[in-house]
Symmetry: C2
Subunit: 559 residues, 2 copies
């Protein structure tokens, strides 16, 4: 398996892998047959209520990253490879990952199931539709939209101001033409005209809710708390006011169950939920993570983008609401991304440049500093690419040694779990240390103070500026009693600042909060900095145009 | 089971039923384990390529109806009850039904899984999301939309005229505000502004394609033939021109597999596809029907609305493309609908009125005549409602006896298969007769002649009028070589004419074809008569508002 003469695509590697029937994977993970609901031969949903009652004691390893390049640094690959390595060390391990969205699959980015010999399987089915969770969220989101417009059409008893509806429709697609639309045209039989727009489904508040809810009743209550807009006299209108939460919960009943699959090496993986990492919190569901903590001794999971976004939200939003502490943190670094932070233009990232790697290390240094502020000692995983040279990799390892930071090379893309053994051993050493995890702010603090803490401690910035609009929104948020919610920063993933071009480790900057969007169902306040894309567009040559299906049902062109 | 003291709702009856594991249902139907892909414990998809090679010899019983009331006459209920009765008579039987759409489930109509003791199970899951087929169709339909707008945005090499795009977006919802919209607003980064609209997913041409395709390669070719609109010089543009069919087929790969479930009494049921019965052909998939014909001796299936719409299209579109002949036809009649055709207003349909039943019988008489024109001798099933009186029912039975037509009472709602034994015996007698089935027109005839045949022989009308617009479209259709396709009439289901109010059996009327829409992927020409609703709206009190989910996952309020 490790001696590949001709490089294969991820899909080819995935298709060559021997999968075990999902019943065997479940049995090995101590999931009883009555809790297993198979979806095909290699996927299943878990009915958590039928699992044996057991305390959730599994330790949580969070895989995060330095500030990424647009192609991503391979967090999912390292997550899978690390888990397979831990399995090889006879640790009872489970993976917990986010589900891929169809939009990027059809667009440019390709799938999100890891890569090389560190993938979750079945790759095609996980990347396409999976067990229907995202489609159920689309249906629930748009049912709420239909109920809103229907309420206005039938007399608008609640006095909803059509100009102040904040609830948007969604589709799990990249479709720029739906960003700004007008609906309700065509005359009185066809609703009330108003401006609207579609987001991609993973940006729906319902995705965030599904990922943060801890029980069916919590799910339904959160759905009821969704603020869909405001009345003519600016009072919030909720999904509960529209009597919608029962139907939405009914639509999400199956989607709320975590999905079980396996890695190429057979480690059980729960893949469930996939919220955006900017306007949402960017982690898989609490249901999946806590179910894995109940079944396994070690749970390897990831959070979106770099540690400034994903890890910060993992600590302050997910871990707090899921009532657990992260026990170890892996920061994925790549030669490529460090070269970028060292100033190398995108076109030259493949050329050897150890000096640029060195120049990029301050970015890694700040992420290490951030994790330490949370009371945790990170392990640096250098995710090796075939184009990396030993000199480039040594720049990273030497710097880490000099700065008393544990760093290892992860060769999991090429070698699977075998290539992650050293990383697994380093992680196990951390797991044996006492846990000093502590969040950086408490929810009761003032909103401005919470944002200030994130900007100073996590981004290394100087100050926060709230625009007039944001200040007005802040006043309304306090008036509505929403100010005790945690903060969900919506910031570019490419920089610690709110400007994507300022790579590396910028100093003395101010973050501007342009808008604060209360997500009362999800339970956080989104602070928008810069332009956030909530409905991507397709490139000139979308990946979809290269996809094909032959007569015997084999897919090609899926990345 | 037959002595119900307190009437239970369909959902309560469904929940009390003992379901067999889907593996057992499959084994009893001779479906080998390697062809079965379970979706949960009680649903599965069938990988048809792994079924033993066997000729499709099962006989096909089509359940159709008189012109219905808005509530429907219980075709699905009779279909299920008849199949259970045939199973009781030790006939190897399978049911083939359409999948319910979420729009009506959330709106007013409720589910579409039969009723009382003649239901398919699991009722909730079939009515909600099922195995994801309709969501996959939504995704495929809207991927094509995104590719169209993306092509125009990136330079419009194909010279698509944004004013002449006929391909609409879809959602599986009742959402009137999406009927007429404008997309692409907001400036040059957000696409090209144009008028657009959403249909409900079951109205998508892709739904019709999925239901008519006979293999994966046929599916992909049909997808490529979809005409999405026209160039500035009015040449048709296809999905193939956009290189889209591969990706669409990839998205539909799993949805193309028929779904296996069971009736309350354990008869295996294939539920697959659910196209509209006006702008599409209104039958479950050919894949499901032909798979059932391969596995069982008798296949009981249904077609949408009355025999003038569903049965006509079943004969001319589905049977022809599926290469089979219907062997027996059941026409469902109800006291309620006959009273309506006899002139009783909606509010008084529950009051006894044998005279009105008699006055309504000419509607039934025309449907009987139609089936006989196809060379088949129908069996009339009087679908008994608890409010029907013996006098009312006898009106129907006596008339049929007088007119040499076999008619029996079907008591399947209240008694399940036991209540359908007499019907099953009557159907068996028909199946033992030689089959004289013949379609009423051949595809090679002129379009106007084909429509003329349907209007005269099936509707009992005098003539057809094509508007100027339709005549122009007809000329273009001939020019493009599409005129050898069969006709798909889009007409109100409430009347033989194109005016919903003209109930009973109207005489001497002309049908006006206002528009002809070529559906080249599906392979038919839709002739629009009157206003067709392709995106329903929600009522003032949608069913969604009564739905709820309790903490243990039990659904209430689903009809």
């Amino acid at each position: 398996m490790t001696n590949i003469q001709t490089p294969l695509t991820d899909l080819e590697i995935a298709r060559k892998a021997d999968m075990r029937p999902i019943q065997e994977v479940a049995a090995a993970a101590d999931i009883p047959a009555e809790a297993l609901e198979p979806y095909g031969k290699y996927k299943a949903k878990i009915n958590v209520s039928k699992l044996p009652q057991k305390t959730q004691t599994g330790k949580v390893v969070l895989v995060t990253a330095i500030s990424p390049t647009p192609a991503g640094e391979g967090k999912s690959t390292v997550t899978v490879g690390l888990a397979d390595a831990l399995s090889r060390l006879k640790k009872k391990t489970m993976v917990a990952l986010r589900e891929p969205s169809l939009g990027p699959v059809m667009g440019m980015k390709g799938g999100a199931t890891g890569g090389g010999y560190s993938q979750v399987l079945p790759m095609e089915e996980i990347n396409l539709h999976f067990n229907g969770d995202i489609h159920a969220i689309t249906a629930a989101n748009n049912t709420l939209s239909a109920l809103i417009d229907n309420h206005i059409h039938h007399g608008n008893l609640l006095q909803i101001d059509p100009r102040r509806i904040t609830w948007k429709r969604v589709l799990d697609l990249n479709d720029r033409a739906l960003r700004h639309i007008t609906v309700g045209l065509g005359g009185p039989a066809h609703g009330v005209p108003r401006e609207d727009g579609f987001d991609i489904t993973v940006a729906s508040e319902i995705m965030a809710i599904l990922c943060l809810a801890t029980s069916l009743s919590d799910l339904k209550e959160r759905l009821g708390r969704i603020v869909i807009g405001y009345t003519y006299d600016k009072k919030p209108v909720t999904a509960h006011d529209l009597e919608a939460e029962g139907a939405l919960a009914v639509l999400l009943k199956e989607a709320f169950k975590p999905n079980l699959v396996q890695t190429i090496e057979g480690t059980p993986a729960l893949i469930h939920g996939g919220p955006f990492a900017n306007i949402a919190h960017g982690c898989n569901s609490i249901m999946a993570t806590n179910t894995a903590r109940q079944l396994a001794d070690i749970v390897v999971t990831e959070a979106g983008f770099g540690a400034d976004l994903g890890a910060e939200k993992f600590m302050h939003i997910k871990a707090r609401q899921g009532k657990f502490s992260p026990d170890a943190v892996v920061i994925v670094a790549t030669v490529r991304a460090l070269k970028m932070h060292g100033g190398v233009p995108k076109q030259q990232l493949k050329a050897e440049n150890a000096e640029a790697v060195r120049a990029g290390l301050p970015n890694l240094e700040k992420h290490i500093d951030t994790i330490r502020r949370f009371g945790l000692e990170p392990v640096i995983a250098v995710n090796r690419f075939t184009s990396d040279t030993p000199e480039e990799i040594n720049e990273i390892l030497n710097w880490c040694r000099l700065h008393q930071t544990e760093a290892v090379v992860a060769d999991v893309w090429e070698k699977g779990g075998q290539g992650g053994l050293e990383l697994a051993e380093a992680v196990c050493r951390q797991l044996n240390q006492p846990n000093h995890f502590a969040p950086l702010y408490s929810p009761g603090e003032k909103v401005a103070d919470k944002v200030q803490t994130i900007v100073k401690e996590v981004y290394g910035g100087e100050d926060v500026h709230f625009t007039d609009k944001a200040q007005k929104q802040l006043a309304a948020i306090e008036q509505n009693g929403w100010d005790t919610l945690p903060i969900c920063m919506a910031k570019t993933q490419y920089s610690f600042t709110d400007e994507p071009g300022r790579i590396g480790r910028p100093q003395e900057f101010t973050i501007t909060v342009r808008e604060i969007i209360p997500k009362i169902g999800a339970g956080f306040l989104v602070c928008l900095t810069g332009e956030m894309m909530t409905m991507p567009g397709l490139p000139k040559q979308p990946a979809a145009m290269n996809m094909d299906l032959d007569d015997s049902g084999h897919i090609s062109g899926l990345m």
